[in-house]
Subunit: 403 residues, 3 copies
Amino acid sequence: MSTSTIEAPQRARATGYGRKPSTHDATMTEVGPGTPLGEFMRRYWHPVAEAAKIQHVPQKLRILGEDLVIFRDRKGRPGLLHARCAHRGTTLYYGKVEENGIRCCYHGWLFDVEGRCLDQPCEPDGGRHRDQARQPWYPVEERYGLVFAYLGPPQKKPVLPRYDILENVGPEQMLWTHVGGFFATGDSSLSVVPYSWLQMNDNVMDPFHVQVLHSTFSGVQFHQKFALMPKVEFFAVDHGVCYSAVRQLEDGREVDRISSWLMPNIMSVPDIQFASGASSNVAWVVPVDDTSYVTAAVMKLPKGSDSPGIRVNGKRWGEMTEAERQRFPGDFEAQSGQGTISLHSEEHLVTSDRGIMMQRRILEKQIEVVAAGGDPLGVNFDPAKEVHAVRSGNFFRAARATG
Amino acid sequence: MSTSTIEAPQRARATGYGRKPSTHDATMTEVGPGTPLGEFMRRYWHPVAEAAKIQHVPQKLRILGEDLVIFRDRKGRPGLLHARCAHRGTTLYYGKVEENGIRCCYHGWLFDVEGRCLDQPCEPDGGRHRDQARQPWYPVEERYGLVFAYLGPPQKKPVLPRYDILENVGPEQMLWTHVGGFFATGDSSLSVVPYSWLQMNDNVMDPFHVQVLHSTFSGVQFHQKFALMPKVEFFAVDHGVCYSAVRQLEDGREVDRISSWLMPNIMSVPDIQFASGASSNVAWVVPVDDTSYVTAAVMKLPKGSDSPGIRVNGKRWGEMTEAERQRFPGDFEAQSGQGTISLHSEEHLVTSDRGIMMQRRILEKQIEVVAAGGDPLGVNFDPAKEVHAVRSGNFFRAARATG
Amino acid sequence: MSTSTIEAPQRARATGYGRKPSTHDATMTEVGPGTPLGEFMRRYWHPVAEAAKIQHVPQKLRILGEDLVIFRDRKGRPGLLHARCAHRGTTLYYGKVEENGIRCCYHGWLFDVEGRCLDQPCEPDGGRHRDQARQPWYPVEERYGLVFAYLGPPQKKPVLPRYDILENVGPEQMLWTHVGGFFATGDSSLSVVPYSWLQMNDNVMDPFHVQVLHSTFSGVQFHQKFALMPKVEFFAVDHGVCYSAVRQLEDGREVDRISSWLMPNIMSVPDIQFASGASSNVAWVVPVDDTSYVTAAVMKLPKGSDSPGIRVNGKRWGEMTEAERQRFPGDFEAQSGQGTISLHSEEHLVTSDRGIMMQRRILEKQIEVVAAGGDPLGVNFDPAKEVHAVRSGNFFRAARATG
């Protein structure tokens, strides 16, 4: 063995060699039953499907790492059950919906939307002990055209919240809903988005990527006003974080764009064409499992509106080639480019990431609250307080002197 | 941290929340070398291929978690060898069959059907020490148009059994054979079935799913008589379990359908068109590995018969769309719907599952026998006792008074 | 429980039953950061791309288990950076190349080819602390039409070697380069070869497979002269192994084919059409990760030559069917047939494998040298010694008497 006598070059020229192994932050990304984040998330209602699409043919639904089926019985009640039949475990996806529930294909056990076993046709008297075989189920409620589910401890079920900006739908208005990949791709190409929910959640309180990714790097994806670098302030609200991004316009006015993130996974983004006034939408980033999610969105629109959607150079995301996506990346590329689960140990957060730091700090704190047996911010058990105020919007005004 | 003062609703309304992690039963499903089930299964002969399809082109064959190749040398002897050449490990799938064996493509080593190395052409004198490099091999025998293999300890090799109902093939009869997914799908779409062998094995002593899955849930898949709920009795036989399923017919007769399961993975199902008399077939559920299997079947048929097969609404399984399979599920859907390996900790077995409980109890007991060094039920070392009697059939008779 | 009284047949008839679990040799195959082989490999320069193909569109590049991007800035300098942006981790594959480096799509951070952060446009003053966020990078150099990278400790960076047979390219000559699967398939079908680098490396000092695989088993893949079984000697050279394979020709001459393997993963194979004289090519087997690699090749050819390539029965590898590949296997089949990573515990090495044993012994020894902090054979820190002599070639001469 020989050892070189070459002198080491300056250490300052450190390369990629010799780095520590990198890791993701499990506390913020792993959502299965019993995990800290999973238990925290299970304290909230989550939208899981568009109500109009839940009919009598059962559909597979994966949420928070659990495999479920969703259907609507012939009385019109939506049902959300574990996919495996409580008897011998075949999936109720092959079940048949009846007046009072869903019947398993294999031996005909019939369950209602709350998992009660109503019939065991191969057993004497239709199953004398059928009460002992309750199918695991979760409560659901319909609102705003979405089906919401609660997967947490029954005694901790909160009131399903309302949002002021989604109430009072006028006679010339409608609620547009979408569950899938809309907030990642701007179209309906994806039914599930194949990376961690946190990467989309981080994106919400990040007004700066709008200036770069959506406005100057890939051309104008939203509106040319976004190309102006804003002056940004982040501030805490009741149970979330907002930012105010102020841009000075050429006509002497300024526009204050206020965007909101609410616990645990809710955003309300103002109109991306810079229409003046309050935001008309609320969206949730619902973890499917550790490495995928859906966005569920509701938007108040004039009746007869086309479905919202983003085109880049005239093309929807689903129509773009890989080369076009490389040249004109959008949210999906930026977020999926972070990996299936980002390696948080490698991040270098800076002042423009302050919104993300605030979000994560709140999440971490409230995950601890739940782990200690408490109730996290944003859950509410009082029906009188069910309406949440949302502050988001594009607010135009005369420019103020800034200090 | 705050704690809600809401009173917990009644505990009886338990949902899917807070369930214990679920598990499969490894003892009944894991088949690799050295596992309890694997060692037990290795004490029996298993059919692994249709004899007519084993010719001079080597074929890949996976069985009990081992990767093998099967071929027939030019003398006509079938050979079953580990796929990796004993020399440097390339697969003998790329080998070439000769008069006396198979030659590896890489360096030309030649092995006979019992793994003896006959030539090492790159070594002096064709390999002076070639005897030291025996290729791992397994004994095979041909019977009923199938190739049977024995993967167990050489000193424990039993007599290859015969079955009375497959003997004495008359001049107007033939034996139809199939290895693949036939008993799962009713057609030849699948060469391997992608879930645990136990899910098919459970299906054998389950007469009730015939009434539901095959007769009333998905329409008539076999014969309309199956829609009558039978009176069922299970009983132990020499080394297996039978059921008797009696149906009262409109014409005053009754039909007693007797179906058999024999150790360790053998079934004899009576004719599914309810033809009268003894069953004409025997089938094996052969584990490929922990998460897949093939069925190997022999059926005695009149010469010139079409290949058996099931159609639903005029379509074979391979021709059905996913939506049709969801609407008209059959054995493949019910069994694959249990998962790659079912979660046995979640099962709720009831009185109609008594046949499955009997099967599993026998299997568990005999797995223990093998683990303790004994010989399990159903293996036989006495050539005088090679013929097994099979009791299966559809037996019509005048209805008896039932007590 | 009963125990058979059958006598065990002779033990000599051992089958495949009861074998120990088989394993691969991790020390020779696992290449990630911190592994013994990975640290050893990181002491050498490796060619990673064809220089002409590295332009302003960033490309993904995986090498030694690390995910990188490679590009050329608008000043013409090639850059090799970790794929994850040092800021929030999105991939620089979606970045845009500028005069001085590459800009991330998400928040616009700009890095030069040595990872220095030149701009953080969303931070005050373009990032007052941007020096603290150096993007992990690796040194690259261009030579012979290839881009070479050094992934090891900066203070141990050796001189990039030259090879005498690639120097002095005459005015009527050119250097042909290829990075991909060329040495596995003989064509450009594969960009990455999906099995361990060691399987290709083992192939280099194995003159016997040329006689079998390439010449007598699958017909003539290279040249009919290879069908003559050679007399082979292996011998160590400065930092590698050579073989001399002598074949007696019908015309009374003999041809001595000398082929070279150089540390750690370099081969120089003589012309496979048996053209007389020194080899004109050098090739590297560069691990992509534990289970895949590329070959990077340079060949000196007459100007205007067609790209080299192998056809079997008139077809390139990429044009062959699976059945044709089974019947006429080549290097890809023989090597991929060993598995993703071969099971080295199952090998039976014999006298014709002596070259492989010599290679592996040197590798093992030098891996230990690096683990102990030393410099392995074949790295050189003295610019005066940068040219390596390569001995490979087809040398024709009058037959000598052999003892």
